[in-house]
């Protein structure tokens, strides 16, 4: 039986669009039909606008018939996490604070997707302001894992993962501050890429922690991730932290770059708390690379134990500042109870933000307070430098690192929501990458006995996404995980 359109890859669909076998309208209608059926169970979307998606599809078809196709993504439905701005569409960050906010401008990645002809389909659910690891912090209700609806798709970009895994989009974008693309990709059996800090513009991405945030793609295959990255990457004069670098043709590069590579296995990433099934799957993947002639070396990232603490100081400090603008004055939720300006601030924010957001604002405000700054924020920045140095030292010996993405597979909804610290531990293998500003991706490397996907994390060197994707491609080619779909 042939694979239904909604489960096919960007590469496959773009070939069929190019040959005229299918139209973008057909494809988009198929994805919308799937979305309508699946969405009540998965809740991957905060909103979607069928008429708008179909209009974009029609425009794509019109371009193609007049020979003005915009490339491999033209006519392909792509979903965006609801923290990425699209002019004229809601931008809620899954928060009551922005429940009625419509953004008047396009994010840079949105402009790039539009210029590539993508059919922008829907606003994808996530943890409120991208803070969380399960999408349970969404003010509009959690998303569900398409492989097991009682479980989380991960977070914070859970909607981006759930939509793609369930066939409600052909590719999606998420944002990754501490693992928010890679962990949901692992939980949902997808490829998820967090690019090097500075490779993709953050202009139009609702800021959670500015020095850690990075937009990246979710895809069904490494090749699709390469296509998506090629479109969204590149210097942007509107983002001072974006890097002036030449963007290679990742899709072409992954076909030409071949190993064997030297791969490092950081011993700190295989300690207590690692689920045995996850550990075994990752060991098996390491074995695969070895069998392909790759040299495998154990390496040490000695400051790994400080990653979580460092992250929760830096990320919350920046968040406390970034979220100060949501005050009910110019836009967003304003309390009806407010009597004066202090009320507007206090009541609007008390009503508009959820518990986890408040928790992080309070923590971040505390660590920046006079008298505590040196002990917390400044020290955390110093540790951050050491953490980055650990990685760069390892890269003197190896080309890339190989680790589990998450210590555990997708957990039950509600299982950890009462215990923030247990939730924070889900990110233990992913946050070091953000602190070090490195590129990393998660790709499927097996399933648990219970049928839950397991993710393999590959961590690369700064701005060497082409190599990272090539390493992943070598594994993916030799395995058939990508051919499995949730039985939804």
């Amino acid at each position: 039986m042939s694979v239904p359109l909604h489960f096919q890859t960007v590469a496959e669909l773009s070939a069929q669009l190019a040959s005229g076998k299918i139209s973008s309208c057909e494809l988009t209608r198929a994805v919308l039909a799937r979305t309508r059926v699946i969405e009540p169970q998965v809740h991957a979307f905060n909103s979607f606008d069928e008429a708008d998606s179909l209009a974009q599809a029609a425009a794509s078809d019109a371009r193609r018939t007049t020979g003005r196709s915009l490339g491999p993504l033209d006519g392909i439905p792509v979903g965006l996490k609801d923290v990425i701005s699209v002019a004229g569409q809601p931008l809620t960050a899954s928060s009551k604070m922005l429940a009625n906010f419509v953004s008047p401008y396009d994010a840079t990645v949105t402009e790039k997707l539009k210029a590539a002809g993508a059919v922008l389909h829907g606003r994808l659910n996530c943890d409120e302001f991208a803070m969380g690891s399960s999408t349970e912090n969404s003010a509009f209700g959690p998303a569900h894992n398409p492989w097991d609806l009682t479980r989380t798709p991960g977070g914070s970009s859970g909607g981006s993962a759930a939509a793609l895994a369930s066939g409600s989009a052909i590719a999606t974008l998420g944002s990754d501050t501490g693992g928010s693309i890679r962990q949901p990709a692992a939980f949902c059996g997808l490829v998820g890429l967090k690019p090097t800090y500075g490779l993709v513009s953050r202009y139009g991405l609702i800021a959670y922690a500015s020095s850690l945030d990075q937009i990246g793609p979710f895809a069904r295959t490494v090749e699709d991730a390469a296509i998506m990255l090629g479109i969204i990457a590149g210097h942007d004069p509107r983002d001072s932290t974006s890097f002036k670098t030449q963007v290679p043709d990742y899709r072409a590069e992954i076909k030409t770059r071949r190993g064997p590579w030297k791969l490092g296995v950081p011993k700190e990433y295989f300690g207590a708390g690692l689920d045995p099934e996850v550990g075994a799957a990752v060991e098996k993947a390491v074995g695969f690379y070895k069998s392909q002639g790759c040299e495998i070396r154990e390496v040490s990232l000695p400051h790994t134990q400080y990653c979580l603490d460092t992250y929760y100081i830096i990320a919350t400090a920046e968040a406390s500042s970034n979220l100060a603008r949501y005050d009910g004055i110019r836009y967003g939720h304003r309390s009806k109870e407010a009597k004066d300006v202090l009320d507007v601030y206090q009541k609007s924010r008390a009503e508009g933000f959820g518990d986890e957001v408040k928790r992080r604002i309070i923590l971040g405000t505390y660590v920046l307070s006079s008298g505590y700054y040196d002990a917390f924020y400044l020290r955390a920045q110093k540790v951050r430098t050491l953490i980055r140095r650990d990685f760069l030292n390892a890269y003197r010996e190896v080309d890339a690192l190989i680790t589990p993405t998450s210590p555990i597979p997708a957990f039950k909804l509600g299982e950890k929501s009462a215990d923030p610290l247990a939730m924070y531990l889900c990110d233990v293998y992913t946050i070091g990458v953000n602190l070090a500003g490195l590129p990393a991706l998660s790709l499927p490397c097996g399933f648990t006995a219970g049928g839950l996907p397991i993710g393999l994390q590959l961590i690369g060197q700064p701005f060497r996404e082409a190599d990272l994707l090539a390493v992943a491609q070598a594994y993916e080619e030799a395995h058939e995980w990508k051919l499995k779909y949730p039985a939804l």
């Binding site: 990425i84 906010f101 401008y105 020095s211 001072s240 100060a324 603008r325 110019r330």
Partner: protein, 485 residues
């Protein structure tokens, strides 16, 4: 006991750039509310700041003019506090690494007389840093409104050391700083438009003491005159508190310039914790020597340096320099005209500018740029007078005509029939005789030794000559005839 005041000023100067400091939308004054905004100014979700290099250029130039040390790296911090005029609820500013450190502002105090130069001092600066301005609130009876046009305008904060001791020094400091910033093209410094704003930190101590007393921050000094009055008032208030046995508290006070009173805004206990931290959205900017050197070449001569040069190079009186120098345009106008007029004529040029040109501009309510008389025209006018081709009284008329319509002075004078004609000595002789004969009283007074009585004859002579007689010749002729009487 005698007290000495210690005063430090924090001056905010808006930098004159086309666009705002962290986005491309235009900056300016007097536009419809909330029209100089964009997603960045309004701090919409997802927006990011990008530094306007022109603003950094301007502050570095200002720093170079004031002799500051320029930091090798421009670093940005967030200053955090909630207020509706601040769209992000943090202000992008510079905390621990200001772009300019040290430097001085040269001031001149009032001299013993108006025509004598006063004492000069150099007031040391602590730092100058760059930040973004906030919006403007207006409060109605039941609601408040905010205009974000001003938000994001580049703003320099210039902090002096606590090194001034009188309200007059503070006044002189602000005047000099303002002139310097206008000279550099950094800002127009119009206080009415909020382009220059001043807060003062004031304390008192017994004369001879070296410690600093409890300081009071005085805000809302909305004009240079209010700065002087407000500081003088605060010094008096502090002395009065101490004299009657009270204790001063560290606080911020609001000065009401119209009423000449101040009231407490907040005490030290209510001071903000700004939770400064480096702005992760902005990369530090390296300021290398080539960059600084390029800006250094664009720095103009400082006003007081120019004044000293005018005094020595052109030998013009101090009073004239103190009219010309504070106005960059006017002093350039002077130099151009003085150079064209040639040696020995600079003072005449200066007089024409300081008296006639400024009077005409004032009467017509025009800026210098709108004057039709060019430096070339003025230089030619002075040369004509010097050559005896134009008499002073006639020259005034020629000047007025040139101010209104422009033109070469020789042509204007000819057109108005004001060119001095070589006087027929016979005719002049008869006018003088007639004038003396007509005024026996003045003749008697002159003969009895009252020298000034001669002037009584001059009027009738000039009237008969229709103003075209050379006053020097008239005087000589009258004296000759009077001596013969």
């Amino acid at each position: 006991m005698n007290y000495e005041a210690v005063i430090g000023l924090e001056v905010h100067v808006q930098i004159k750039t086309r666009s705002k400091v962290f986005t491309r939308v235009g900056a300016g004054f007097g536009f419809e509310p909330n029209t100089l905004t964009d997603p960045v100014v309004l701090a919409l979700p997802g927006t990011l700041p990008v530094m306007n290099k022109a603003a950094l250029d301007a502050i570095i130039k200002a720093g170079l003019m004031l002799g500051c040390e320029i930091a090798p790296v421009c670093k940005w911090d967030r200053k955090q506090y909630f207020y509706p005029d601040s769209p992000k609820n943090y202000q992008i500013s510079q905390y621990d690494q200001p772009i300019c450190l040290g430097g001085t502002v040269e001031i001149e105090l009032a001299g013993p007389a108006r025509n004598v130069m006063g004492e000069h001092k150099k007031i040391p600066l602590t730092r100058i840093h760059l930040e973004e301005d906030v919006g403007k609130l207006s409060h109605g009876a039941t609601e408040s409104q905010v205009d974000y046009n001003r938000a994001g305008t580049p703003l320099m904060e210039i902090v002096s050391e606590p090194a001034m001791h009188t309200a007059d020094e503070a006044f002189a400091y602000l005047t000099s700083l303002r002139t310097t910033m206008i000279y550099g093209g950094i800002s127009d410094c119009d206080m009415e438009k909020g382009q220059l704003r001043c807060d003062a930190n004031i304390s008192i101590r017994p004369v001879g003491a070296t410690h600093l007393g409890t300081k009071v921050e005085l805000k809302n000094l909305n004009s240079i005159a209010f700065v002087r009055d407000g500081i003088a008032h605060e010094i008096k208030r502090q002395i009065a508190v101490v004299e009657r046995g009270g204790t001063l508290v560290q606080e911020t006070r609001d000065y009401d310039g119209e009423a000449g009173t101040s009231q407490s805004l907040r005490s030290k206990e209510m001071a903000h914790d700004y939770r400064y931290f480096p702005d992760p959205d902005l990369m530090p900017v390296q300021v290398d020597d080539a960059w600084k050197q390029a800006l250094r070449t664009s720095c103009p001569e400082l006003p007081f340096d120019k004044q000293r040069r005018f005094l020595s190079e052109y030998q013009i009186p101090y009073t004239i320099t103190s009219v010309l120098v504070p106005d960059h345009g006017l002093s350039d106008y002077f130099e151009a005209a003085a150079k064209l007029a040639g040696p020995g004529r600079a003072q005449a040029v200066g007089n024409w500018i300081a008296n006639d040109l400024l009077r005409e501009l004032g009467a017509a309510k025009l800026p210098l740029g709108a004057a039709k008389i060019t430096p070339e025209n003025l230089a030619a006018l002075v040369k004509l007078i010097d050559a005896g081709s134009l008499l002073n009284a006639a020259a005034k008329e020629v000047f007025s005509a040139m101010f209104a319509c422009g033109g070469e002075p020789a042509e204007v004078a000819a057109r108005l029939g004001l060119t001095a004609v070589p006087t027929d000595t016979h005719e002049l002789d008869s006018w003088c005789r007639d004038a003396i004969a007509a005024n026996a009283k003045a003749l008697a007074e002159f003969k009895s030794g009252k020298e000034s009585a001669i002037n009584a004859f001059k009027g009738p002579v000039m009237k008969a000559a229709k103003g075209k007689a050379d006053p020097k010749l008239v005087d000589e002729n009258l004296r000759r005839l009077l001596a013969a009487q």
